[in-house]
Structures are given as C-alpha cells and as structure tokens.
C-alpha cells in the first residue's frame, strides 16, 4: 500500500524559481518500504567527529511569502516545512537508509499483527512544549485531524482509503491500535511522513503552536520571519544545541543567496541550481547538493481527448528531448527520466528499460496514424504554474522541441498564477506537475488519490495489479507485480517524466552536523528539526 513520502521537497526548488506550493508535502500515504526500499547509497553518514557545542542563534533563510502558514500537519511552501520540522515530530522517522525507525520518532515500537492491524506504543516521558505528557489520546486526536476532510490536510487524500478515524483506538495511556480498511504491507512508512505529526488534543492552526519538537515557536510573522527557542525539556537529552533558531523569509532566490553571501544568514535553503558552482567556490560557504528522486512531469489525462489515444501519448513521449530539458531547465543538476517514477525505490530499474530518446520520425508517424497532419495539426496549450520553478522552463523547452515535428504538433507554453490549482490541475487534458520522491507503490496511491492522471481508472488491469501489489506481503511476488505495472507505465502511461531534479542548500562552514543524503528533505530533514546542527 502505500508508501510514504519520504522526502518531500519541492522540485521547484531546484530549478531556481520561487516555489510556493509544495506538493511534496508529506502526502502521506503509505509506503512500502520493507524489502523494497533501501538501495539508496549512503554518501556521508558519519557527520562529525567532534563533540557538538551548545549556544548561539541559527539564522536560516528560505524563500517564503505572506502566504506562509504554521501548521503541524501541513505546509504551503518550503518555508512552512522548516518551521514544521522544528516544532513537531512523527511517531517514526526514516533513517539514513530510508527505512522507518524510532530513533527520531515518538513511538517506542510499531508492531504489525497482520497487514491490516498495527499496535503503536509511545516512548515514556515525552512531553509537549506545554509540559503535558504525550498520551494515546493525542495520537487518536492527531489521526482524526489528519483525516478531517474539512481541513484538507495533505494526508487526507492519501490516507482516506486506508484509515477510518473510528478505527484508531486507544488501548491504554501509551498504546494505540489501528485497524486499516485495506491491507498495507508497510504502514510504518506512513507514520514517517513528516506532516503526519502528533499534536496535543484540541490542537488547531489558529491556537497556540504546541508540539514535541526540539524548538518551541516563539513568534511567527508570515512573509517575514519566525523565531524558535530551545526546548529545554526535549526528550533527547542534551539536544538541541542552539539557544534560538530564526527562520527568515526572502521574496526570491537572488535575495536569499545575497543574504548568505553578506552574512545575514547562516544557511540558505534551496539555492538556485545556477548558483551551486559560484557558491561552492565562495570562501566560508559550503553547498549541500542532493540528487533527489523528485521529478517534474507533463501529465496527459487518459480519459480526455486527445490523450485518451495511446498513440498520441506515445508520440508526445517521443517528441520530448529529455537531455535538453535536463540541461536547460535544471542546468544539468538532476538525472534523466524515462517516464517511470519512484526513483528512490529499489524497484526503479527492475525492468531495465532502454532510455527513451527523442524520435521525431516515429512521433510523426504515430501522430499521422492518429489522424493529425500539417493541415490538421494537434495543438495543445501546456499550462505551467509560476509558483514552482522548473515547470515553466520545461514547458517552454518542450514547446520549442515540438517545432521539429514540422507543424504537426504545436505546443503553446502557458504560465499561470495560483489559479492553476483551481482551474488547471487535474482538470485540463494536459498540464505540468511535480512530485517529491516517493517509493513506487506510494506514488501510484498518491497519484490516484489526487486524480492526477486517471490512468488507473481507464486501465482496469493496471488498477488490479496495483491493489494486488499493495496487499502482497511476499517481496518476490510483489516485485513481479511491480514489474508488470512498470511495463504499463513505460509503454502506455499518462506521465511524461523527462527529469528527476536535484536540490541544494548552502551554509556557512561554521555550521556543523549537516549530512548529505539523497532523496530527503532539504538539509537532511532540516537537521531533524535543527536538533543535529550546531556552531563550531
């Protein structure tokens, strides 16, 4: 079933634009981790040999706006992500091998009695910022809030088919039992989604921000800054190290980079890919580039003309020049896509598909077979939201590449403001979208939850395979099912996936404790809510 989204970051980020909305929110779904995930190379885990020092104020810069929010279980933009991580914690968290672990989590243990029945036991002695102990009631309330349709939290669409809030039951003060609506081979990954945090009973966005995290919210001004003071009674003894963390908003990335250069801030979250080179040669500054599994995509709705015709979908995939998109939209900071998602998943290359490349002759033949010609060309508007870097450049580059068809395919790139979410997303026959890294089956669950492609609706065979795979506890059998699913994705699916994008952070070299790991949130989960970071 599901897989959760590990990492969530905003693709946009990578390409240098302002990224407003982050789909990567921890869409929570579930993740299949067991057995499947884990092939991620560990680049640097032994962070620092020296012993962390206490004290100081960490100033973190991030692109934000007056639309910023502070909510324990959702975000709008990257700035919100950093704030959430500082103040709130989940039951489990992904470890360096992308497996659910209780090291940074509030749960002592999560035991699966079956693929539908899980028992969660809380650690002893963990207290909220208010001083109140974390109990089973808080866990029950947290799930109720996550599944409240009215709040439209990111986990809702991904969790609603798996969890009925009424089936989240308190056993005793430290124990909760959850019975799922459908089997899930790995419920634990879901608990790691960083927006699936535990909040005290009665928590609301408008009320006091009380969590269990290493830093307590002292003040928050949307579009300007927030201040977070050290949680002296944090459950991990000795941590965190700073007296205060200040998260400062910048209107755009150039301003953010300038602030780091001039010493206004100690770390800049999500610097433009074009600045990676110049910044890494700047004295006193270090760059943390992560080749993530986040991706940019062009979505073709399979229930709408003209993309209900598989020939047209295949033709589109042959027109695009993936290498050029990587070079242009991402300045080379990323990896080539092959119309398959789930890069961080061990199964990504299970079928060893050939890399798809531009083939205009074949594309023209397919379009001709589909009934298009120079006199009756296929004309499409390709909308891209301006709040997410990388998408507009991708649309523009694709529009230019389509000219090679000699006028049979005409693509018109169209920039949109935030109304994209109301009028375009999952509505127009073709549009651009983006996702944070997710394991393979979790991505299918999330895609279906948002109705993004409707592919699973128009291809029942695909849907049956997915349902079978999510409930399959045997690794080998599940892998066989996944290989069949991927064959559909590669031959016939609704996504054009040209690239997986990297993202990068830059920081002053006095900042210690930063680990470079692939497929995770910026600054490796913001230094786990900044608890791992300290000044030399």
């Amino acid at each position: 079933m599901d897989i959760n989204d590990p990492s969530t970051h905003d693709p946009a980020s990578s390409s240098g634009g302002i990224s407003r909305r982050d789909l990567f929110k921890g869409v929570g779904a579930f993740a299949i981790t067991t057995g499947l995930i884990g092939g991620i190379p560990l680049t640097a885990s032994a962070a620092t040999a020296s012993k962390p020092k206490r004290g100081g104020t960490l100033r973190v810069g991030v692109v934000g706006s007056t639309n910023d929010i502070l909510d324990a279980q959702t975000i709008v933009a990257k700035a919100d992500q950093a704030r959430l991580m500082a103040g709130f914690e989940t039951l489990l968290a992904f470890d360096e091998n992308f497996k659910p672990s209780n090291k940074y989590g509030l749960a002592e243990s999560v035991v699966g009695k079956s693929t539908t029945d899980y028992v969660i036991t809380l650690k002893k002695g963990i207290k909220f910022h208010s001083g109140k102990a974390v109990t089973a009631d808080d866990v029950v309330y947290s799930f109720q809030r996550l599944l409240d349709a009215k709040l439209a939290l990111p986990s809702y669409k991904a969790l609603k088919d798996f969890i009925d809030p009424a089936q989240v039951k308190k056993i005793d003060a430290r124990t909760v039992e959850i019975t799922l609506l459908k089997p899930s081979v790995d419920f634990k990954s879901t608990l790691c989604a960083y927006t699936n945090t535990i909040v005290p009973v009665g928590y609301t966005r408008e009320g006091t921000q009380i969590g269990t995290g290493p830093y307590k919210v002292a003040s928050f001004t949307p579009g300007r800054e927030s201040r977070h003071v050290r949680n002296a009674s944090y459950w991990q003894k000795g941590k965190p190290y700073f007296n205060e963390v200040v998260i400062q908003d910048f209107a755009d990335k150039p301003a953010l980079v300038n602030a780091l250069r001039s010493g206004q801030i100690d770390a800049a979250i999500d610097v433009p890919l074009t600045d990676i080179g110049p910044l890494s040669t700047t004295p006193g500054v270090k760059v943390n580039e992560v080749a993530g599994g986040a991706w940019l995509t062009i979505v073709m709705l399979t229930d709408k003309a003209p993309f209900n015709d598989p020939k047209v979908r295949q033709a589109m995939r042959l027109v695009i020049n993936r290498q050029e998109i990587l070079d242009r939209a991402l300045q080379g900071h990323g990896r080539l896509g092959n119309d398959l998602f789930g890069y961080i998943d061990e199964t990504y290359n299970a079928n060893k598909f050939a890399q798809r490349t531009q083939d205009i002759a074949k594309a023209v033949a397919l379009l001709t077979a589909a009934g298009y010609s120079k006199d009756k060309p296929l004309e499409v508007d390709l909308p891209a939201p301006d709040d997410t870097g990388g998408l507009i450049p991708m649309a523009q580059a694709f529009a230019e590449q389509a000219k090679a068809t000699g006028g049979i395919l005409k693509v018109n790139a169209k920039a949109m403001d935030s109304t994209y979410w109301d009028t375009t997303y999952a509505k127009t026959p073709i549009y651009t979208s983006y996702w944070s890294p997710r394991a393979y089956l979790a991505q299918i669950g999330a895609t279906a939850g948002y109705g993004e492609t409707l592919y699973e609706k128009t291809n029942t065979k695909y849907n049956d395979l997915y349902v079978a795979a999510v409930g399959e506890a045997d690794d080998a059998k599940r892998l066989a099912l996944i290989k069949q699913l991927q064959q559909f994705d590669y031959d016939d699916g609704a996504y054009i996936i040209p690239v997986f994008n990297s993202f990068a952070d830059a920081y002053k070299d006095k900042l210690q404790g930063i680990v470079n790991r692939p497929g995770q949130l910026n600054l490796d989960y913001y230094g786990r809510g900044f608890q791992e970071l300290w000044f030399k």
Binding site: I69, K150, Y156, E225, A251, A255, N258, A259, S418, T423
Partner: protein
C-alpha cells in the same frame, strides 16, 4: 467674513472626495469579485476537498450575497475592522499595517529628498535660462523621465551595487519587529529610484513657473525699485512660483503610491507594493481590496490638499471664491 467662501469651498471638496471614494469602493469590490477562480480553491491548492472549499468559503463570508458582502466590507472599513487576510488568516490590521507604515516611510523619504532637489533644480534652471545648466539639467531630467522605474532601478543596481561600485546593498532587509528606518543603507537605492522617477516632473513645472514669475510685472517692478537681486529672488520670485507646483507634487506623491509596486518588487522591500502583487496572485481579496482603496485614497487626499493648497497660496484664485 473673508473665510466663509474658503470654508464652503473646502467643505464642498471634502464632500466630493468622500463621494469619489464611495464610487471607487464599489468599483474595487466589483472588480475583485470578478477575478476568475475561487479564492478558497486557490488557497487550498492540490489538497482541496469539496468539504474544505465549502468550509473555507463560509469562513471567508463568500457564501453570502454580493451586496451583503459589500456592505459588510465597507462597514468594516469605516468602523476600523479591516477584515482578515485569506492567505495568512491574520487580521488585516495586524498583517498590513506594518507594511503600510514601511511604504509610507519609503514615500516620505522619496518626497523629502526629491521635492527640495527638484525645486532647486527648477528654480536655478529658470534663472540660468537657455544657458549651460538649464540645457544640461533639462536633458538629464528628460532622460530620467522617459525610462521606466525598473530600468532606472536596474541601472542603479548595476552602477552602485554590483559592477561599477559595490557600495550599496541590492536589496532591503527588514525584520518584522524593526522600524522601517532600521536599514537606511538598504533604503538608499529604492529611494533613489523613486526620486529619479519623480524629480523631472516637479523640476520642469517649477522651472516653467519660475520663468513666468521672473517675467512678471511685479518682479520687474521690484527690480526697477532697486531691490538687490537676492531679495527679489527670495522674497518675490520664489514664493510666488511655488504655488502651481503644489498640484504637481500632489500628483506625483499619488503616483508614487503606484510606483512602489515595481520598486518594492525590485528591491525586495516589505511594503504594500510587494504585498499587493502577492495578493493578486493568490486571490487574497481582502488584501487587494484594502490596498487598492488605500492607494486610491492617497490620490484623492493629495488632490484635495493640492486643490485647497493652491487656492490658499494663490491670491487671485482666493479672491475669486
């Protein structure tokens, strides 16, 4: 007795100004309502559910009839309750007031710098009519007047913050608890850009007005009486030529209220201009409505003051009342 006509004139102008603002408020409300897209759906983004959109529309008061929404809004504005920002969910008074203060400070700085400079340039150019200074200044002012602000601003950044001289920061940095004067160095370039945008107009009118006064009979008379040139200029020419400039200064201040949209964007200045752009994009209607009203009110008010001011300082208009 002498004051009554002036009072009546002022009362009439104030009444007319209020009426204008009322019409403007209807216009603003109508136009923002006509913006396509449902703000609730835009606000919720990818995660929108029908239940959440309905709940949010209710929170925003958007499930009521348009006339009721309008009267509610206007009543709120009049009674000081400005409503709540859709996107930040903060009361507007809390969210927008510091930004209004920042922008006003920026405007005040631009005005304080540009008005004396432009009056001086205009007056001096009039004195040296058709000579070197006049020709040179008119050319420079002309060049500045023709270029859009963002071009002037970009040139200033190139000149003073990046390539030629690296002496000033390219952006402003203000923390929310800081007053706008906390970063005076960062304020230099935005102020300078606005000054460049406004000075040419005021200077040109000042010059024309001064030329007219210098050619007038009473200045001639004063000279014939043998008054020293200094006295003629400072006592007679200057005060009399400032009158017509009032209107232009007013117009320019009102214009600046719009010019900040671009300048604030360019220099990352946390004022109403940057807030407005963001609000339009994200359909934060209460913010758009309030800021548009503020900008229009600045225009109406400055015009009112200029009209009254002109009448008060110009003797022949005063007697006509």
């Amino acid at each position: 007795m002498r004051h009554t006509p002036i009072l009546r004139f002022v009362a009439k102008r104030v009444l007319f100004g209020l009426l204008t603002l009322l019409v403007i408020s209807v216009l603003i409300f109508g136009v923002t309502q006509a913006l396509p897209s449902d703000p609730a759906a835009v606000m919720l983004g990818r995660d929108a559910t029908p239940e959440a959109v309905a709940a949010l529309r209710h929170d925003f008061g958007m499930d009521r009839s348009l006339p009721s929404q309008y009267t509610h809004w206007l009543g709120g504005v009049v009674s000081g309750d400005l409503g709540t920002s859709f996107s930040t969910r903060l009361p507007l008074s809390e969210y927008i007031t510091p930004r209004v203060a920042n922008s006003l400070f920026l405007l005040a700085c631009a005005g304080l710098v540009s008005i004396p400079i432009s009056l001086a340039i205009g007056a001096y150019a009039a004195l040296k009519r058709d000579k070197g200074f006049d020709n040179a200044s008119s050319l420079v002012l002309l060049v500045l007047a023709a270029m859009p602000e963002f071009v002037v601003g970009t040139l200033l950044v190139i000149l003073l913050a990046t390539f030629v001289f690296k002496v000033l920061p390219a952006t402003t940095y203000l923390s929310p608890d800081q007053p706008p004067w906390a970063d005076m160095k960062g304020l230099v370039l935005p102020v300078l850009t606005l000054v460049c945008a406004v000075t040419p107009y005021v200077a040109r009118v000042m010059r024309a007005s001064m030329v007219e006064v210098l050619e007038s009979d009473y200045v001639e008379m004063a000279r014939l009486k043998g008054m020293p040139e200094r006295t003629v200029l400072l006592r007679h020419a200057l005060p009399n030529s400032v009158g017509p400039v009032f209107q232009v200064i007013a117009l320019n201040l009102a214009y600046l209220a719009g010019g900040v949209i671009i300048v604030e964007r360019l220099f990352n200045f946390p004022g109403i201009g940057s807030a407005l752009g963001e609000a339009v994009r994200s359909r934060d209607l209460p913010v758009v409505q309030f800021l548009a009203l503020v900008i229009a009110a600045v225009y109406v008010l400055t015009n009112l003051l200029a009209d009254v001011g002109t009448v008060l300082v110009t003797p022949r208009l005063r007697t006509r009342l």
